[in-house]
Symmetry: C2
Subunit: 765 residues, 2 copies
């Protein structure tokens, strides 16, 4: 047969990896794992054999094989250390025993032996021998689907102690790797000493054989492996036994951290308890192999657990020799929440003249040169990288005047936000001496993710500070120098009141997706950037609310009684003022009566003059003899000098069109008929509804909210442009004199009054 | 060998199904599919062979085998119609051709033939022949893991036309099923006529052979199969080509609906376009087999698509001969939204005297006898079923006096809610003749899921009506008669203003999980029931916010300066008034200074008298010589006459404990020191914080909110007890005279004023 090596060179998907890291140094960051060339995947017996509700072990095994095959076909050298032959053989032998027992049962009919028969006693080494061939056949059949050859290697730990045997094994494995074959390694259970009984395989009195954790670790070091992935039925290493209050999965484990761990009892299957796994992992790490312990049985991740790990995602526990400087993002969130609580408790006076926000405004002016120098460095790197558009580089740029207006904005915010926190919204006398207040409080910890524009940072920080919220900021890599100094200045301002930890800048190395999963630490996520960013975050955020909107399909409806000049002005401004904005018009709806009137012609002429490309809606197209391109979808957000034009029969028709194809963002009517206008404003179910003015007014600044964190199209909490108020929630404070609910029962002595106590200042502003 | 039948009887997981339905009648509801005994699973070639990013075809195939094996082991008779041999053989043959070509390349070195080689031209029938054995070997290997035998059957459509051949096939298959063997059926591609070329297998110029849809349908009817599951790479049948605006997946398809469908172009792989699939499905349906077309390639569902279908979940498109009476739940949601918009637009006057809510209150009194008769029927059924606890039966029961107080509550709500919708919260003069208002509007469509208590229905309906929201109600089966009449009365009241569709009662047959997935139709889900129900719904709701709380771990902190009588009263009431409530106390925190004082002894005595079982927190336990049982977790919600007692050193210690172990629901301090109390009220970050009064006051009625829809521990939108306000959102209304944003630019003629216009009534109440 022609050597496989030649074929390997021909397969199109096989691309070469970058050269392997210098031997003897494990990786420091997960993000470096992409470079791992030689990888051992260790499958615990729970991974190979135990079924669960959502798909039994076979499907799990198949998707693991798929991932290994994919990585192998990327040019990596994959090895598998497998457990499971015992359980595999158990299944097979039980089958045979049941068969022979059912013969016996037929002979002894009348005696009920069913109970005995369902739990035949099997010897582990016999099971292993019987299972090994079936397991290998399965691996072989599966890998064949990816044109990958496998080879069976059976070893015992003793083989590593004998120098000659070790060399032999080493050269055999190297030869297999050279030929692009995936070695599948298992313990040679048939030749190990007789096992001690235990009952750790569910339901069957079977016996375990020596664990594979140390085997995998030895093999990894012997073969100078870059990465050892140990999969079992635990998520990774916890700081205390899982299930105990506050047990936390450790993301990165350093050898020095070992004292901080409390181990629990051993896992149900296999004898490799967590302590043994950690010991093996540290041994491999010392030998220069990076190690990850992760769950290979979780149906939610099985299909991509290995590839996720190699891509550097936060899965399981990563063992690293070097502790990087600075806190982890979880620690940052904890520090922020803590400092945020102090921030929220600062008395209103402390917010006033010498306030944090005023101080930050001051610093922006004072440290102007340093900021602009840092910004210049970011600009140069962005320009020289050649990866960014001019538009993005413009957004990245700061200037002296930009910093000035930023400072002015902050000072205004400092004034207007003076008593946003702790404001009483409602006061009720529940009963004599039992008074209830509903007061404003911060939401908690905000995560704001922003792209390119570094001027976002002080604005968002000021809004968070003004509302007493803690803040995690995740900026774009391209603005990292500017963001760093702006964050330093923010912390300097916060330190005036000893709460500098309340605003944290998250490392650019952190994946947005991983941040979104910190659901117990973050209360609200605010993405500021492209609609793609928002959509990605909405998808990634599990259990944490996301404030924002992913779409802005805004309409302008030109009624039959529209004033011609207003129609022209509003349509022009709505579409052309800034076509990329979410509040720009995408569809203009024209009342049928206007067709073939001067109004219609003038709108068309104006759009042509402004070089707006018109797409015709289906009804509009049917009226035309000439034909502009017809729309593909009436829900398109063009974000450019393009729009859709459609004809409607009536106000009701316009409203129905907006409800059907709109995104409930901002919709406008142009008419001189007040009654029609009020009907439109009442009926259209969007965050912003406008009469005779441009859709572009939908904006926090233009609404007079001061700064804005974004525009929300959600139907709960904040809707439309969101300023300070959207960052507040409420809490109920009840003050009594030992009141009990029993006092108010039918036999009780008290009665509910529920008197509304008027507030000194009632307007919600 | 011993016959497998005997073994089948022995395997513990094998349980017998109920007898098959009478032949020739397909199922009418998805929920009946659980009874399907004989099932054909048809796998399109996309399912068997095409890989995707999240796991290639092999893993998919393995999990399909697992599901089929599970159903087979439940005692069902499973058959598989498989495609994919062509693509399987293609893979194998391409491999061989590449090998031989690389030899040729070695001979002709210098000439670059790589491009040609990567796309060898393969003949489909040869591919099928080469692939068939590999595919069968794979099925065999996989099914063996579940102790299931398979058999290979190759047929052509012509075999069904020859009477003798058909009888032979029929008896062979029956014999296989009798022996508990899973037949795997494929077309005998090697003997069919030469195919016509096409290019529908990605990247390779290969040729398709006759589709398997009609084969599966023929087989299903011939074998009197109960259910045919046809899996391919589409979600099911859409009412128009997928991707077009508003294309909707059809849940249940009736033969008469065929005119309402627009078919798109054929799917990428295989020649079975959607039209052919529907034709085959209708044919099988006519023959008495129920059919479902679903996606077998979606990584999110692959692991359970077949078992979900058999469990009656809403997956793919279900073909049914009989159209059940009444609208689907999607139609109900649509009707409710539409009528809800009319409801919200009713002028305030229409809400007043002859209001819908007052009318409903009247009807509750007027139709008392009918309501109580229906309720009696539910009670009798619940009692005789023996499945319900006495507590639940009590909650199910209505009485004349309960109806009276319900009516009184509704009338109060009618008065207090008079202008909740359309209320102006903020008014700003943005510029001359450009005025902005923020007004209250309904959230939209609410889904309220409630258990047992039928008195929920009119309360929730009244709150929804008062806030102008549309409502979908899903009640428990045990209260179906009572709910039905209460809903009829609600609709009668709504019909006064022609909006009877605004409140819809969802069929008890609908699965809660399916309802939670209607994310484009429902704006807010409100579960009213056990914390388990809330948790389940929070898990199931994808993209729809859920208002509620799943935990209530409330604390009472007895400070060192607590008054003894208040401490006793508050702790007793908080724990004992109604221990199962979410606002009952779970942990009492005692200041260290109180240990071995009379206060401490009296609290202990009181709890003993009230028969409250005390669990000691770790610090408390360390102080004790006698030892009550120690807590397992400081986060336990006992919901019974049990509580945890723990010692704290200080106010700060108490606050830290509450933040760490509490659920941010309701927390109480008992102290005479006002300063300490205010610190507690300020620092504790819970929805409700109380001073010297019972935690049981955390309740919408006791707070004076009128009715409540629940208590929220969310940090956005509504927090704490939620009344009418929590069912409202806002919209921004801007009225201008042709204003454009350009007018306000540096060159423009206008300036922003942002004047706050005072409101006549400012209190948010």
């Amino acid at each position: 047969m022609f050597p496989r090596l030649a074929l390997g060179r021909l397969l199109p998907s096989r691309s070469r990896l970058s050269p392997p890291r210098p031997h003897g140094k494990s990786f420091i960051h997960r993000s470096e794992l992409k470079q791992a060339k030689r990888i051992v995947v260790k499958l615990g017996s729970a991974v190979v054999t135990r079924g669960d509700e959502c798909g039994l072990a076979l499907g799990r095994l198949a998707s693991i094989v798929e991932q290994v095959a994919m990585l192998q076909n990327q040019g990596r050298e994959m090895m598998i250390v497998t457990s499971g032959a015992v359980a595999f053989g158990k299944q097979r032998l039980r089958h045979e025993i049941l068969l022979s027992q059912s013969v016996r049962q037929a002979l002894h009919s009348g005696q009920n032996q069913l109970k005995d028969m369902s739990v035949p006693v099997l010897e582990a080494r016999a099971c292993a021998a019987a299972g090994q061939s079936g397991l290998m056949a399965l691996y072989e059949a599966m890998f064949t689907q990816y044109s990958i050859c496998t080879a069976q290697i059976l070893v015992t730990n003793l083989d590593f102690h004998d120098e000659q045997k070790r060399r032999n094994l080493n050269s055999t494995l190297h030869e297999l790797l050279r030929m692009n074959i995936v070695p599948i390694i298992n313990t040679n259970d048939a030749v190990v000493p007789p096992p001690v009984p235990s009952s750790d395989l569910q339901g069957v009195n079977v016996i375990s054989i020596k664990d594979n954790d140390s085997l995998a670790a030895r093999l990894a070091v012997e073969m100078k492996v870059d990465l050892l992935i140990a999969l079992s039925d635990v998520q990774g290493l916890y700081d205390r036994p899982p299930g105990v209050d506050d047990a936390k999965l450790i993301d990165i484990f350093y050898p020095g951290d070992q004292q901080s761990i409390t181990y629990g009892t051993k896992s149900r299957v296999g004898i490799g308890g967590m302590e043994a796994k950690v010991k093996a992992a540290l041994w491999a790490l010392q030998g220069g192999t990076s190690v990850i312990i992760a769950n290979g049985t979780d149906p939610k991740v099985t299909g991509h657990v290995i590839t996720d790990i190699v891509e550097g995602k936060k899965v399981g526990t990563f063992f690293s020799e070097v502790k990087p400087a600075g806190p982890t993002v979880e620690q940052q969130a904890e520090m922020a929440r803590h400092a945020g609580r102090s921030l929220a408790s600062l008395l209103p006076e402390q917010f006033s003249d010498a306030s944090i926000i005023c101080c930050l405004a001051e610093l922006l002016t004072e440290k102007k040169d340093e900021i602009l120098t840092a910004n210049k460095r970011d600009m140069e790197m962005a320009t020289s990288s050649g990866r960014f558009s001019q538009a993005l580089i413009n957004r990245l740029s700061l200037s002296s005047s930009k910093l000035n207006s930023l400072a002015i904005g902050l000072r205004q915010l400092a004034v207007s936000s003076r008593d946003s926190v702790g404001r009483v919204l409602r006061k009720t006398r529940v009963a004599n001496n039992l008074d209830l207040e509903q007061i404003t409080v911060p939401i908690g910890v905000l995560l704001v993710i922003f792209e390119s524009r570094p001027d976002c940072l002080p604005q968002v920080a000021a809004l968070a500070i003004a509302s007493g919220n803690a803040l995690l900021l995740k900026g774009g890599k391209e603005a990292s120098n500017t963001n760093k100094i702006l964050h330093q200045l923010t912390q300097e301002a916060l330190s005036v009141h000893g709460v500098s930890d309340a605003v944290q800048l998250v490392s650019t190395r952190e994946e947005v997706e991983d941040l979104c999963r910190l659901d117990t630490m973050i209360d609200l996520i605010i993405p500021r950037g492209s609609s793609q960013l928002v959509r990605d975050i909405q998808r990634a955020a599990k259990g944490v609310p996301v404030l924002g909107h992913s779409e802005g399909v805004c309409h302008v409806y030109v009624d039959s009684e529209a004033a011609i000049d207003k129609a022209i002005d509003v349509v022009r401004d709505s579409k052309c003022d800034y076509p990329a904005a979410c509040n720009a018009m995408e569809t203009v709806l024209i009342h049928r009566d206007l067709l073939r009137t001067p109004v219609f012609d003038q709108i068309i002429d104006m759009l042509r003059t402004e070089q707006v490309k018109i797409h015709a809606g289906p009804r509009f197209a049917s009226y035309l003899t000439f034909s502009p391109s017809e729309v593909k979808s009436l829900r398109t957000e063009y974000g450019d000098l393009e729009c859709c034009m459609e004809v409607v029969d009536s106000l009701q028709d316009a409203v129905d069109h907006i409800h059907r194809y709109g995104s409930s963002h901002t919709d406008v009517i142009v008419t001189e008929n007040e009654e029609t206008a009020e009907q439109f404003l009442q009926q259209v179910d969007s965050a912003c509804v406008f009469w005779n003015c441009s859709s572009r007014f939908a904006d926090g600044y233009r609404f007079g909210l001061g700064a804005e964190v974004g525009i929300s199209t959600a139907r709960i909490h904040a809707r439309g442009p969101v300023g300070l108020e959207g960052l507040l929630t409420t809490k109920w404070v009840l003050r009594g004199e030992g009141h009990t609910v029993a006092d108010f029962s039918e036999q009780g002595s008290m009665k509910y009054l529920h008197e509304n106590i008027p507030l000194p200042q009632g307007v919600f502003s």
